[in-house]
């Protein structure tokens, strides 16, 4: 039986009727059309589906849409600002931290969750923060450098 949920995605409020066995990931991709959140392993191992829920980076494939009732979700589509790319996105572009791009939304959201709590992390903290996000192009070094650059530029 469908349940009515209310949630905020990228500062927009939604009221939706969802089946209990729908994941937050599938809700975002197929019901809301927010396909920037990627589906990789779909079992919590790869981090491609990372979103920020109430300030914490989480795997959206492990969360039921009904559990997101009343929660605030940020996806990659909500990261860009009116002024253009978010500084983290810009740093990824400038540092060559994007290759195939599949891990990029998750990487950026894990980085954002880190920088929102800890604006000046050291390298180890950065590596830990993205340790649940797999990049199979294995471009980790440039990703770490991009996040370091944001940390250094930020006040």
């Amino acid at each position: 039986m469908k349940q009515i949920i209310k949630l905020t995605v990228n500062d927009q409020e939604y009221e939706l009727a969802v089946e209990p066995n729908l994941t937050l990931l599938d809700l975002l991709r197929y019901d809301l059309g927010l396909t920037g959140t990627k589906k990789g392993c779909d079992e919590g191992d790869c981090g491609a589906c990372t979103v920020i829920m109430d300030g914490r980076a989480v795997s959206s494939c492990l969360i039921l849409a009904v559990q997101a009732n009343g929660r605030k979700i940020l996806t990659i589509e909500g990261v860009e600002t009116e002024g253009g790319l978010h500084p983290i996105q810009q740093a990824f572009v400038e540092n060559g931290a994007i290759q195939c791009g599949f891990c990029t939304p998750g990487m950026i959201l894990s980085a954002k969750a880190l920088l929102d709590r800890n604006p000046h992390p050291d390298e180890q903290e950065i590596r830990t923060a993205i340790s649940g996000n797999l990049c199979r192009c294995t471009g980790y070094q440039k990703i770490v450098e991009a996040i370091e650059e944001v940390s250094e530029k930020g006040s």
């Binding site: 039986m1 066995n21 994941t23 795997s59 996000n133």
Partner: protein, 292 residues
């Protein structure tokens, strides 16, 4: 992957949750962090008719002090445990175990109770919690009972819980002065790793701070449940801490471990590492106990 269909329940209070569990029993599964349950349902290992989300139960969140003990709410996330100043201050081995579990994405969802009731032999929280002598509160409609963590975990995926019971709190005694504990997880990578071997050791010193009053050593991933190395513990009792005695305890613990060969590592290697990790955790635990 599609999730099987189920009815979803979201009780607002613990009393209501116990009512629902009493009514549904085996047909229902409680849902906390979901990092095990949702995966097992996707893989069709589990297909409960009913899923009872505990997410709204405010009674099961946070830490409180209670009659010389602290009680950790079942729904406290692994990330919250790792970050808690209270846990880091008094239960450093637990905070460390929490900080190396899975990945940040998992730690932000996974709960302390989930890591215990899933009863995986390589789980990261049971060894240190057992070393601290933790117990858990199990609640059902008719009442609640207290069970030592050692008695809760009975085998891979097997616990002493009845189907309608919910784990509500993890209970730890306030540590006495002159004690310390350490946890080391050994794996082949730094994140999203299932331990090859893990060891937690707890040491308390007698009042003069000279000899070892008591010790508890718990070995993970080398048996069907986390195992106490009781002969190693006995050997340490009343002794003055020294490299020699820690080495002998490591050897005794290795003999007591019951590792298996699998694709992660050989039994022989695991046994050898039990010795090393036992020595290292004892040394670290003693260091903390002495400096306290």
């Amino acid at each position: 992957m599609l999730l099987p269909k189920f009815d979803y329940h979201e009780p607002a209070t613990l009393a209501e949750a116990c009512e629902v569990m009493a009514e549904l029993g085996k047909r229902a599964r409680p849902l906390a962090g979901g990092t095990d349950l949702i995966v097992n349902m996707k893989k069709k290992i589990l297909a409960p008719e009913h899923v009872v989300s505990l997410g709204r139960l405010e009674e099961l969140k946070g830490i409180d002090s209670y009659d010389g003990t602290i009680r950790i709410g079942a729904l406290m996330s692994v990330a919250e445990i790792a970050e808690s100043t209270e846990v880091k201050g008094s239960y450093a081995a637990l905070a460390h175990g929490a900080s190396v579990l899975g990945s940040p994405l998992i730690r932000n969802l996974a709960t302390v109770a989930g890591n215990l009731v899933s009863a995986r032999p390589a789980a990261d929280l049971p060894p240190s919690l057992m070393a601290y002598g933790a117990g858990v509160v199990l609640r059902k409609k008719d009442g609640e009972r207290f069970v030592a963590l050692e008695d809760l975990i009975q085998g891979p995926g097997k616990t002493a819980m009845e189907p309608e019971e919910l784990l509500t709190h993890v209970v730890l005694e306030t540590p006495p002065s002159g004690c310390g504990a350490a946890y080391i997880k050994l794996g082949t990578r730094k994140a999203l790793e299932i331990s090859l071997v893990s060891v937690a050791s707890y040491v308390s010193l007698d009042e003069s701070g000279g000899s070892i009053a008591s010790a508890r050593i718990v070995m993970g991933a080398v048996g069907p449940t986390p195992l106490r190395a009781t002969s190693a513990e006995k050997l340490l009792m009343g002794e003055n801490p020294s490299e020699q005695i820690f080495e002998r305890a490591g050897e005794a613990a290795a003999l007591e471990s019951r590792p298996i060969d699998d694709f992660r590592g050989s039994a022989e290697y695991r046994r050898a590492m039990v010795k090393v990790l036992t020595e290292r955790t004892l040394r670290a635990a003693y260091g903390l106990a002495r400096d306290q």
